[in-house]
């Protein structure tokens, strides 16, 4: 007797929504088991990891602080993923966004103009898009794999940022630390929730998600992107330009990640450091999938992912667990999602023995 996967006649619409919940539940359950195995009181550890970080307003502010970059990056990536354009370099695009936005602030140290912040955001968008334009150009002109190119550029971006803060952009008054000077007030995103560090990046992220919804679900261009992703042959048949889809997919990802980068530099950090993001660009890949490439799903998934980050930090402080635990949970979450997704197109059936048996029979004549 074993369990067999049997194709469904129609994909299960319910499973499309149930599967991410199942994956989240299984990830939490795994956490429970892992904490127990590690010798912690599971309930206490669970509480410390998943509940304590958000049991006050400040905690929710911290959550939002992470939801903003995660959902921004994930929304941008989702546009590409829908078109089967696998941009996995959001981390690098975010870094370039931070460099360009931050660079603008550093270039105008004395400006108190209200235009500086919008300018920084625009510069961030341009920077992220420019970084994403490289794989787009190499894909459309030389057929170079965008997965590998965008990823390689992430390493290059990190090294570039490191070069800047160790070298030309280092704060002369910074006692030799690898960091730029602190941004002036006009170059820092305003706090939107008193008593927290939650800044204007969050409403911007929500606006981008709303825009993303209209674009993907209501616009003809979004439809073309979905067709290109589901059936490249059909897109070609209908005359939707494949190159255009590649460009849109990558630029959307780059632009959104660029905003997220400015949000980090002009938000909680307030300057440029050798590392600007704890892997938001990679975590956003998981957020995009768990959120079903849908804006609402992405918002919910990025809340879960932000909680994993906060929990990881809390676990480091309170339980003495390494912060790497966050990465383990992130990977596990995506594994469970991918595994439960099989139930969209298949159902489980308990089989007693192999089907299609042929028993001894009388001689037919």
């Amino acid at each position: 007797m074993w369990v067999k996967l049997e194709p469904r006649a129609e994909p299960s619409r319910a499973m499309i929504y149930v599967s991410p919940l199942l994956a989240a539940g299984l990830t939490l359950a795994t956490g429970f088991v892992v904490f127990t195995v590690l010798g912690f009181d599971p309930l206490a550890a669970f509480h410390a990891f998943f509940v304590a970080p958000i049991d006050d307003l400040y905690g929710w502010g911290e959550l939002g602080l992470k939801v903003a970059p995660l959902s921004l990056c994930a929304m941008g990536l989702a546009v590409g993923f829908r078109a089967n354009v696998w941009n996995i370099g959001a981390e690098g695009q975010l870094t370039l966004g931070a460099i360009c936005g931050g660079g603008l602030a550093l270039a105008f140290p004395d400006t108190e103009s209200a235009w500086l912040l919008p300018g920084m955001i625009a510069a961030g968008v341009v920077g992220g898009m420019a970084w994403a334009a490289i794989p787009a150009f190499l894909k459309t002109h030389f057929n170079a794999n965008e997965i590998l190119v965008s990823l390689m550029l992430t390493y290059v971006a990190a090294l570039f940022l490191s070069y800047l803060v160790f070298g030309p952009w280092r704060d002369p008054q910074g006692f030799g630390f690898p960091e730029t000077r602190q941004f002036q007030d006009a170059a820092t995103l305003p706090i939107v929730l008193d008593g927290t560090r939650l800044h204007a990046g969050m409403p911007i992220a929500l606006a981008v998600l709303a825009l993303g919804w209209v674009f993907m679900m209501r616009s003809f261009l979004g439809y073309q992107i979905r067709v290109a992703g589901l059936a490249g042959g059909a897109a070609q048949y209908a005359g939707f330009s494949h190159k255009r889809m590649v460009w849109i997919g990558l630029l959307a990802g780059g632009g959104a990640a660029g905003i997220a980068g400015v949000g980090e530099a002009a938000g909680p950090i307030g300057q440029l450091l050798p590392s600007i993001s704890p892997g938001y660009g990679f975590a956003a890949i998981i957020v995009a999938f768990v959120g079903r490439l849908h804006p609402v799903g992405i918002l919910l998934a990025s809340m879960l992912m932000a909680l994993l980050y906060l929990g990881g930090e809390a676990a480091q402080m309170n339980l003495g667990l390494p912060s790497a635990v966050t990465g383990v949970f992130q990977g596990t979450l995506l594994f469970f999602l991918l595994a439960s997704d099989v139930l969209i197109n298949f159902r489980l059936r308990v089989v007693r023995r192999a089907p299609g048996r042929v028993a001894p029979t009388e001689r037919a004549t």
Binding site: L5, L138, F289, V325, G331
Partner: protein, 310 residues
Amino acid sequence: MTGLETTVAILVSILGAGTPLVFAALGELIAERSGVLNLGVEGMMLVGAVCGFIAAAETGSPVAAVIVGVLAGAGMALIFGVLTLTLMANQVATGLALTIFGIGVSAYIGIDYTSVALPSISPVHIPGLSDLPLIGPLLFSLDPLIYLSFAALAGVSWFLYRSRAGLVLRGVGESPESAHAIGYPVIRIRYAAVLFGGAMAGLGGVYLSVAYTPMWVEGMTAGRGWIALALVVFATWRPARVLIGAYLFGGVTIVQFHLQGAGVEVAPQLLSMLPYLATIAVLVVISRDINTIRLNSPASLGKTYHPDAH
């Protein structure tokens, strides 16, 4: 040191820098030849590296390190196999998940070993031959894992082009439907290829943490898993060219070290970009010839296959 000795030393260090790529890329090449694209090489290498390192630190035995690293890589690949082959998950997404998971897991289990030092593995001196000028040090007194990488290349080439099983593997990668129709167990063959890929990635990781550096640092592969993936494309899925590509990247890495050492007036961060930029350059050069790519890449690469899907 004489100029000749310096040259030989540089060449030997290039072999060393290229070897983890040889292992990982050969493994991935076999997986891709069966039609499975596993983007989790980076994660598998890291887990192999940390597990092998721990084994070496605990037992002092490089052989134990290799065995544990290989098993750890294969174990990671098994997760990938269950998800993509049995549960038919998207290969790209699953590979990314495997890498993210591998980065986290390796950082987590290696946390107590970051400052442990290992004795370096002594090279194998082949009596008589290793005393030859130039080729003696270059070919006959290397560390044993480099010899193993040569053997792996020979083995993989023989398997693919001379053995019947290799022919079957190529057939499965080209058309799983046809292979199924004439009676081959496509899924089982793909499992074997994926597990081999994981084992080899694990071996590449062990080489890094136990022989090359030797130490354990979080995320120490620094993108080598991804470069290995690019190498498979560079090699147009042919094993011998993996070796060329790997040493090319080894060369870029070493040249960058030597430039830094020689006090070249360029920031080290900019020099460190070289391997990544070289990867992009190589990808562009190879990929622009769509004909060659199509003729050599396994036709079913990255596509989910299930015999019962109607």
